[in-house]
């Protein structure tokens, strides 16, 4: 922000954990770094193939239109153009993508290119492949497409009104999904309330994490074997393969996914299976490798937005002492033009139904509608972030209206550490956590004890100071069985991840993951876990970079998403390494003449007798024996391979479809953020002058890496709270299609960012660790809360939107009564 920003303090570890020998909890330097700082990473556009064609998509300029004519002949005449692909071909050669929604929402047809109709600006209509990037772009201008514009549907609150134009003829009222959720006894809670706070409308806006590397792929097709090799930065190959195989009418094994380095994903690289099918068809048609690199404009316009969600007719029963009993609301979720991961968002919010709070009575009417906007994808914090923001707005607004202290009311309502594991009203189990303690630490980070003094000081400079809190959870390791709560016919449940750990002939330890990291340091943390178990150093452990489904180290849910690597990925690594350790000990015991494996141990790359450490066999010898000298082994040990593949499967159960009840995720990390803003009352311009983020993700494998995730996620949520918004005009054109208008935080925009952490290990996971990459959405709540506090002396406006750029703050200052009309307090 200002030139005089103070250097952030060193991060505070609140509780000194006893440092056990080994590598868990150590800031081991990253294995990924060397190649990345040298510019030697391999990102998808770095992959080159001889004779490769470059693809440019011709995209729809209309939000909603019928396609009446496509003529590619002039494009094909251009020298250097290899070919094209149009929707008609796609419809002939592929089946529409599998839909998660039940009928009628699930009856819509989604193909790799628009077929007959376009439903959002930027939707790909024609793919053109040419010898150079520039030629492909030139040829695209020669493609002729005629459209007949149709009525656009842009307002999710009106999308389901009778008479509104339909996006998909198969989907009445543009309603993808609707369901009711009823937990506890809401009517009794309402009767018991001393006060009822009603909020007419809260709005969570459209934005996304906009990873710096856009989506892309280099796709090759082998005519001899019918095998596609898809180099891409898709971050959930398990899901992509399940979607693409049936669409292309081929077996899953024909789709080999390869990636090495990925430049950020944050959920926005999950639904690219759509474009990848077009690429596969082109590679096969042209018999050459094809390269697609998404443009920034295309990522913003047409790839993956976070869900927009409206919360209507919110009703909150409250006791006199400030205890909230629950809430009732009608939610409308806008998923854009197509459902690619949706309608899972309609249930995923229920992982955190009461937020961080001990609220037992919840009634939700949930509708998801499609609109002529970019399709949504599971953007960082997917569906939980929207809901957690909602719960934070509720408690913040109730505190404001009932004039209760924002810290005290949260502590009164937070689930307590001694109640963990805590079962929520819909059967989810929060494994561990101490939210009140995190809040205390957050308050310290921003000097809350002197907040009133800071307020007076700001006043003397003509500024309004505001303090705000944001509480958030990061639920991780999904139970995909929750999909049956939106569609009882689906056959998905549980979760899995795979790792393979082997000892090679020369004693090299090699790890193969099933994941697709985009900066989460998997190579490093996996090496730490392996080193810890085998008693070697992380430098002795080779972790293959990236993902390759040919490595056969993946399963149905493999990928990097949904805050689960520390549990599933590292759980698989632990399982495989434990197995390997056991096998090494068996070899060692046999060769060293011990009676059982209890008599040997692993140390420094050797297996040795506990009673005589000199009697030791180096790992290299074990590898050599099994691979090249196995006649020395007794017969019963010849099944040992020292090549251990392990599938981690979390202990999920099938949820109850009738009651929409059950444990939907295994772990719950949390973050509590505190934010101090100064508002210029003359302009609505504000600055975040102090910011603290406290995280608890259980056992931290590498604290520095965890802290990096906290800092990055906080920056993203600050960006989303302040300037980042995907806004549309009345014709359905995106007004922020690039970084010029979609302003993300740059280095000077960042407030001083202070962090601290505590560790509440999870009782449910192999390492006590929890996934934690998505918990930083607290910034959206903290900023909203701080602004509302800053403006309290100016007519007590209510902050009801998650997007708060300067002009919105000015509106609240200028016209507080308008926002106050949203709130009503009934005293009983």
């Amino acid at each position: 922000m200002s030139e005089t920003t103070a250097a952030p303090d060193k991060p505070i570890t609140v509780e000194e954990q006893e440092v056990a020998p080994g590598f868990i909890g150590v800031n081991v330097p990253r294995k990924e770094d060397r190649r990345l700082v040298q510019g030697e990473g391999v990102f998808v556009d770095d992959v080159k193939r001889h004779g490769m064609a470059y693809v440019h998509f011709v995209r729809s300029p209309y939000a909603h239109a019928a396609i009446t004519r496509i003529d590619v002949s002039r494009a094909l005449e251009l020298d250097g153009v290899y070919g094209t692909l149009i929707g008609e071909e796609v419809a002939a050669e592929t089946d529409p993508f599998f839909q998660i929604a039940p009928p009628p929402g699930g009856d819509l047809k989604d193909y790799a290119l628009a077929v007959g109709r376009v439903r959002h600006v930027g939707e790909p209509v024609v793919a053109v492949a040419a010898a150079t990037r520039e030629l492909a772009r030139d040829a695209a201008d020669l493609v002729e497409v005629d459209y007949e514009p149709l009525e656009t549907v842009l307002d999710p609150e009106k999308a389901a009104d009778p008479g509104t134009a339909l996006l998909h003829d198969e989907v009445p009222r543009n309603t993808i999904w609707h369901g009711n959720f009823d937990y506890g006894d809401y009517d009794a809670a309402l009767a018991e309330a001393d006060k009822v706070v009603r909020i007419k409308r809260l709005h969570f806006h459209r934005f996304s994490s906009t990873p710096l590397e856009t989506s892309g792929a280099v796709v090759e097709y082998n005519r001899g074997t019918g095998q596609w090799t898809i180099h891409s930065n898709n971050q959930f190959p398990g899901f992509a393969i399940i979607m693409m195989g049936p669409a292309l009418k081929v077996g899953m094994d024909k789709l080999r996914f390869v990636s090495q380095d990925i430049g950020g994903g944050f959920g926005n690289k999950i639904c690219t299976h759509v474009q990848l099918v077009a690429m596969c068809l082109l590679a096969r048609k042209l018999n050459r490798a094809v390269n697609w690199t998404e443009w920034r404009t295309d990522q913003h316009t047409a790839n993956s937005h976070g869900n927009e969600r409206v919360f209507l007719d919110v009703e909150v029963p409250v006791k006199a002492d400030g205890t909230l009993l629950g809430f009732k609301t009608r939610m409308i979720d806008d998923c854009g033009a197509y459902t690619r991961y949706e309608p899972l968002g309609c249930i995923i919010w229920a992982q955190v139904t009461p937020g961080c709070y001990r609220w037992r009575h919840v009634r939700v009417d949930f509708t998801q509608v499609c609109t002529n906007k970019s399709p949504c994808g599971p953007n960082r914090g997917y569906s939980r972030m929207q809901h957690l923001w909602f719960t934070e707005r509720i408690i913040d607004i109730v505190a404001r209206e009932l004039e209760l202290d924002p810290v005290e009311i949260r502590k009164r309502n937070y689930i307590r550490a001694d109640e963990m594991p805590y079962e929520t009203p819909n059967g989810c189990v929060y494994d561990s956590g101490d939210y009140a303690r995190c809040l205390d630490e957050a308050l310290k980070l921003v000097g809350y004890e002197s907040i009133e003094e800071k307020r007076r000081d700001a006043e003397s400079r003509g500024k309004l100071l505001g303090f705000g809190i944001g509480s958030t959870l990061d639920s991780g390791t999904n139970n995909f069985g929750q999909s049956t709560l939106v569609n009882p016919e689906l056959q998905f449940s549980g979760n899995n991840e795979v790792a393979t750990v082997k000892l090679d002939i020369f004693g090299e330890i090699v790890v193969t993951l099933g994941t697709t990291p985009q900066g989460q340091s998997h190579e490093t943390t996996a090496a730490q876990v392996v080193a810890d178990i085998l008693h070697v150093s992380p430098g002795d452990v080779t972790v293959r970079a990236g993902h390759d489904s040919y490595w056969n180290s993946h399963a149905g849910f493999s990928g990097t998403y949904a805050s689960q690597f520390a549990v599933t990925g590292l759980g698989a690594v632990k399982g495989a390494t434990d197995k390997l350790a056991g096998e090494i000990k068996q070899i060692g015991a046999a060769v060293l003449g011990a009676d059982s494996t209890d008599e040997v141990e692993l140390e420094g790359g050797f297996v040795r007798r506990k009673d005589n450490p000199e009697a030791a066999l180096p790992f290299m010898a074990c590898g050599a024996i099994v691979n090249a000298n196995n006649a020395v082994l007794p017969l019963e040990l010849r099944e040992i391979t020292l090549n251990c593949r392990y599938v981690y499967v979390p202990p999920h159960q099938l949820p109850d479809k009738e009651r929409k009840y059950g444990n939907l995720t295994l772990t719950y990390a949390n973050q509590i953020h505190a934010c101090v803003v100064e508002v210029d009352p003359e302009t609505g311009v504000y600055e975040i002058v102090d910011y603290g983020a406290v995280d608890d993700c259980g056992t931290r494998i590498n604290p520095q890496i965890v802290e990096g995730q906290v800092q990055g996620a906080a920056a993203q949520s600050i960006g989303a709270a302040t300037h980042e918004t995907f806004l549309y005009d009345e014709d359905g054109n995106l007004l922020t299609p690039n970084f010029y208008d979609y302003h993300v935080p740059h280095a000077l925009d960042m407030p001083p960012l202070r962090t601290a952490s505590i560790e509440s290990p999870s009782p449910f996971t192999p390492l006590g660790a929890k996934g934690m990459g998505e918990g930083g959405g607290a910034g959206l709540s903290a900023v909203a809360s701080a602004l509302q506090d800053a403006l309290r002396g100016s007519g007590k406006p209510i902050v009801s939107d998650s997007s708060n750029p300067y002009h919105r703050v000015w509106e609240l200052l200028r016209n507080p009564e308008q926002s106050r009309e949203l709130v009503e307090v009934e005293n009983r």
């Binding site: 920003t5 060397r34 710096l212 990055g712």
Partner: protein
């Protein structure tokens, strides 16, 4: 002289003279990535905002997506691949690793070149000056906290 659509250019890249025929409309970043196979310099946006393509041309940090390759004819360009010889690491590269100033690594080459440019012109930058120097480099992963620390440490020679 009359205008041409293509030209043979001679550019010194990381100390080596490179001669190629290029279309005039080819951006410098694509010349580096596609014609010279120096894929360390990245493209992150369409409007010259993100800085992932930052290189040093004739001693100045510039966004290589905002220059034509022909404009670099006769110039000297330094990319991430030329920051340190062979497999050595420049103090900045070492510092970035020590201070966990990179996660996905996509913004990192551009970020390092901006940092190099800063330290070449200002060996003792304040925190504010560091942030100004990388204001044209967007990072979505780190929140910049560790990047600023790493550059500061490298400037002070305090690399672990």
């Amino acid at each position: 002289m009359e205008p041409v659509a293509g030209q043979r250019i001679s550019v010194e890249v990381n100390g080596e003279r490179q001669e190629r025929d290029v279309e005039v409309r080819r951006l410098l970043v694509h010349f580096l990535r596609d014609d010279l196979d120096l894929t360390g310099t990245h493209v992150g946006c369409d409007t010259g905002n993100c800085g992932a393509c930052t290189v040093i041309v004739d001693g100045m940090a510039v966004k290589s997506c905002m220059m034509l390759a022909v404009q670099a004819d006769g110039s000297s360009v330094q990319t991430i691949e030329g920051l340190a010889p062979d497999d050595e690491l420049h103090a900045l590269q070492q510092a970035f690793s020590s201070f966990h100033a990179l996660q996905c690594g996509y913004c990192t080459p551009g970020m390092l070149m901006s940092a190099k440019h800063l330290l070449d012109h200002n060996p003792e930058p304040t925190e504010g000056e560091i942030r100004r120097a990388i204001q044209g480099n967007i990072c979505r992963c780190t929140g910049y906290v560790n990047i600023v620390e790493a550059i500061s440490a490298a400037a002070k020679g305090e690399v672990k």
